[in-house]
């Protein structure tokens, strides 16, 4: 690793000495309008400028970054941000988290698509496989690491991912993107945008894909092939200056194979029941947003959405869920030193969870109604104009599972000069318990017979219902520094220390019962575990020449678990935390070989970690991987690209599924060819 870093340093040093950083007064070119709209822009500094005034650890992924990454799915795109860990469990399943605590259903991350939360309360996480979208319609993704529940709502504990799609009027005309490849067998996106009267626009889109299964450790294909199709629309109207109305909707159907390995002592030694299951996720949403900007600069935003989803994991469980969310925000007219934002939110999510006969996963209560209400206030206070600002915000939240939570934040932003920013934040956020946490019964493992215990012991998680559910709390301290060097180079560093309290931990529950041919040992949740995570996140943006851009990022993380103070819970807490790679590096290069040809690469490194799930234990090794993309713009309406992914390994394991005990699989090298036609 050290020699690798040294190589990188040498290359960076060589690159940085390129003469592209001077800043001279620029003459105004006399060009025709026709030429201007066709000129490619070098907008290196724009990205940095927009972030200069933000007192939080923000990383922005633009449409260009997405297109040039060669990534084929939403979670893969997120891997370019420092502080975010994206691990592929297989070709169609992901574990995504911010600042540690990764899991297939990483439970401390808020994910919003145009303001709609896509976090599922079932396991407290995101079913990424069902959250794909036409990547071409994304305008930008804002990744905010660290807690800011005051702004972003509950579960914005370790971070918030805010996906913003393009306005309908920015996607006028037609697009057909077709690709075929070795892993991504076929992937088709079609979109058409048109005007609705004098001041309205709409786009309709459809996407379908078919991805092959990952590999078993012996090299054969596993059972997790996936396919998905979706269709949706977005319409925007400008009712009159400052009064905007948007409507979005989508219907989707997604199917993924999976093999689970449930521990069962009734089976011969090995004690594992292999269950092949196809998970089907189908549903839709409808969402509306009204914004009114008044003459005095005050603004009202009202947003509402309704979603419906049916999840069916064959032979395991079935969940039907309906969610209604109402959100209101009022921004006071900017006056004097204060910029005040007030808001209120109401959410109702009702579900029915059932399990087929013989399933290993059952829910004690088949139906629940989750209610959440919150109000928040945020004040941005200018202490010294252009120099020093303080932000105070808080959200007061109440839900019918874990009660009330107060989530405050205090931030400062100091800009000694326009090129430098120093910021700091002290915040508290809470995580809402998941549906599974309170109601699920799921086997965790089998302890084989031993002297003194002649029968195998079945460890089964079941919440006794005696301990009330609690929200896990986070107190976070963060400091950040950003600097711009001319128009071509900017640097961003964040250091953080997170302290978690009332963490969830599994302990032995009521006494074991002998139910021949096995002994049943229930395990329950207790709250009260403590842990700490600290880390450093670095990102560099270097427009080395007008045609070549380099964007490295690096994350270092260190975690310490304390458990409840006894050795058993300490061990449990430690193995739950060990899923974080200590070092993570991403280096993206975007190079315009000529106005019509692009050559991009993306090098990723993650250090090893040990992962123990209930049914398996895996040492995930150090991994370096490389994606390369070559694109040729044949003419204004056609672009061809060839992408190779995970080129350095034939197959690697990245992550072992947790929560649901899937069989470990490896993801492989892949190639695809893509054509984008615009009309």
């Amino acid at each position: 690793m050290t020699s690798f870093l040294r190589t990188l340093a040498v290359l960076l040093g060589a690159a940085l000495s390129c003469p592209a950083l001077s800043q001279a007064p620029e003459p105004v070119p006399d060009m025709s309008l026709e030429d201007l709209i066709n000129t490619e822009v070098i907008s290196a500094s724009r990205k940095a400028e927009n972030l200069q005034k933000v007192a939080a650890a923000v990383f922005v992924i633009t449409q260009e970054d997405i297109a040039r990454s060669g990534a084929r799915s939403l979670p893969d795109v997120l891997a370019m941000a420092p502080g975010i860990e994206v691990a592929r469990i297989g070709n169609n399943r992901w574990a995504v988290s911010a600042r540690g605590g990764n899991s297939r259903f990483a439970n401390k991350l808020q994910v919003l698509k145009d303001g709609r939360s896509i976090y599922s309360p079932l396991f407290s996480g995101v079913f990424w496989e069902a959250e794909d979208m036409p990547l071409e319609d994304i305008k930008r993704i804002e990744i905010i690491r660290g807690p800011n529940a005051a702004m972003w709502g509950s579960n914005a504990v370790n971070g918030t991912i805010n996906i913003i799609t393009r306005k309908a009027r920015d996607t006028q005309g037609g697009l057909l993107a077709v690709s075929a490849g070795s892993e991504d067998r076929k992937n088709v996106t079609a979109r058409y945008g048109f005007a609705l009267g004098d001041a309205g626009h709409m786009r309709v889109y459809a996407k379908t894909y078919d991805r092959r299964a990952s590999f078993n450790t012996d090299g054969s294909r596993a059972a997790d092939q996936g396919d998905s199709s979706m269709a949706g629309f977005r319409a925007d109207w400008l009712l009159s200056s400052g009064n905007r109305l948007s409507l979005e909707g989508e219907a989707y159907h997604d199917r993924n194979g999976d093999s689970y390995r449930f521990p069962d002592p009734r089976l011969p030694p090995g004690y594992a029941a292999l269950v092949d299951s196809t998970m089907t996720l189908g549903g839709g949403h409808l969402q509306g947003r009204y914004e009114s900007l008044r003459d005095d600069g005050s603004e009202i935003v009202f947003q509402s959405y309704a979603t419906q989803r049916t999840l069916e994991a064959e032979r395991v469980l079935r969940e039907e869920r309906k969610t209604l969310d109402l959100d209101f925000q009022y921004r006071l007219a900017p006056s004097g030193r204060h910029d005040v934002l007030l808001g209120a939110n109401y959410r109702n999510s009702s579900d029915t969870v059932t399990s087929p006969a013989g399933s290993y996963v059952t829910f004690a209560v088949p139906s629940r109604d989750f209610q959440l209400q919150s109000v928040f206030a945020n004040d941005d206070i200018t202490i010294v104009p252009e120099r020093f600002r303080v932000t105070l915000g808080a959200r007061m939240e109440h839900n019918n599972i874990s009660g009330a939570a107060f989530q405050p934040t205090a931030r400062f932003l100091w800009t000694p000069d326009p090129a430098r920013t120093v910021w700091g934040a002290l915040s508290r956020a809470t995580r809402t318990p998941s549906r599974a946490e309170s109601d699920v019964t799921i086997p965790l493992g089998v302890v084989p017979p031993m002297p003194g215990r002649l029968l195998p012991t079945w460890m089964v998680y079941q919440n006794s219902g005696t301990a009330p559910l609690k929200s896990e709390k986070l107190d976070a301290l963060e400091f950040g520094y950003r600097q711009r060097f001319g128009h071509a180079l900017s640097f961003d560093a964040t250091a953080f220390a997170h302290r978690y309290r009332d963490g969830r931990i599994l302990v032995l529950g009521s006494p074991a019962q002998i139910i021949p041919p096995y002994i049943l040992q229930p395990e329950n949740t207790v709250y009260g575990a403590q842990s700490r995570v600290s880390g450093l996140e670095l990102a560099l943006f270097a427009q080395l020449t007008p045609a070549w851009r380099l964007q490295p990022s690096y994350t270092w993380m260190h975690e310490t678990a304390y458990g409840l103070g006894d050795p058993v819970s300490l061990g449990a807490a430690q193995s739950a935390m060990e899923k974080i790679p200590r070092h993570q590096l991403s280096l993206r290069s975007q190079h315009n070989l000529s106005p019509s040809r692009q050559l991009d690469f993306w090098l990723k490194y993650k250090s090893h970690f040990q992962q123990d799930s209930t049914t398996a234990s895996v040492e995930v090794p150090n991994r370096t991987n490389l994606d390369i993309r070559y694109a040729w713009k044949v003419n204004r309406s056609l672009e061809l690209s060839l992408v190779g992914q995970n080129l350095l390994h034939r197959r690697t394991i990245e992550y072992l599924s947790d929560e649901l005990p899937s069989v470990a699989v490896e993801t492989g090298r892949g190639f695809y060819l893509k054509a984008d036609v615009r009309f």
Binding site: M1, P25, P29, L33, I37, E40, A333, T545, L648
Partner: protein, 202 residues
């Protein structure tokens, strides 16, 4: 020893993988980076910056807009380009001293609606729409061409909005507001705009 700087390959390698092949890829990558740097440096910098493009756009918007005669004191009086804030920071100071339609261009900063009375063009570099919407709406019946960079500038009462789309700087026009101010945009502007909308001013 000579190969000491070449990074170790991640271990364990999948069965059958060749160490030399893997190392070779790292070397190829390093060569690629150096080559890319050399190639880019050799290409030179003919590309225009964001700021230069903006200024060139403003020049063209002036060229293709007609002001009512009452907007000028005399046939040869200057055309005043005002910038909300610092013209230097907005990249428009380079416009001063140019002349167009037989009129010299003047560039000056303004900070409030009251100061904008003598302006023919008002350029708003601010990205937070709430901070200038009061100014914008106070001017909406006056023959002042408003150009802005904020996201959705034409949605809140601006006339021409510069937008970054697909790696290019493009523009969109709210014709309803332009006409309300008794300005005339030539067909050249309307033809090349990415979007032309006609929304009622409030």
């Amino acid at each position: 020893m000579a190969r000491a700087w070449i990074p170790r390959c991640p271990a364990p390698l999948p069965a059958g993988a060749d160490w030399r092949w893997c190392r070779g890829l790292f070397v190829a990558l390093a060569v690629l980076v150096v080559w890319a740097a050399a190639l880019s440096a050799a290409q030179g910098q003919q590309t225009l910056s964001d700021q230069q493009l903006k200024a060139a756009y403003v020049l063209n918007f002036i060229r293709y807009t007609e002001w009512p005669e009452r907007a000028f004191a005399a046939p040869d009086s200057p055309l005043v380009v005002c910038v909300l804030g610092d013209p230097g920071a907005a990249g428009l100071s380079g416009l001063a001293g140019k002349s167009l339609k037989g009129r010299p261009l003047q560039v000056r900063p303004v900070f409030a609606a009251e100061e904008a009375s003598g302006c023919h063009v008002l350029f708003i570099p601010e990205s937070d729409v709430r901070r200038f919407v009061t100014t914008l709406r106070a001017l909406q019946n006056r023959p002042i061409l408003t150009i802005g960079e904020a996201d959705g500038f034409i949605d809140v009462g601006g006339m021409i909005g510069l937008v970054h789309i697909d790696n290019r700087l493009q523009f969109e026009v709210n014709l309803g507001v332009v006409q309300q101010a008794q300005l005339r945009s030539s067909s050249q502007i309307l033809r090349l705009a990415r979007n032309v909308i006609e929304a009622r001013p409030r």
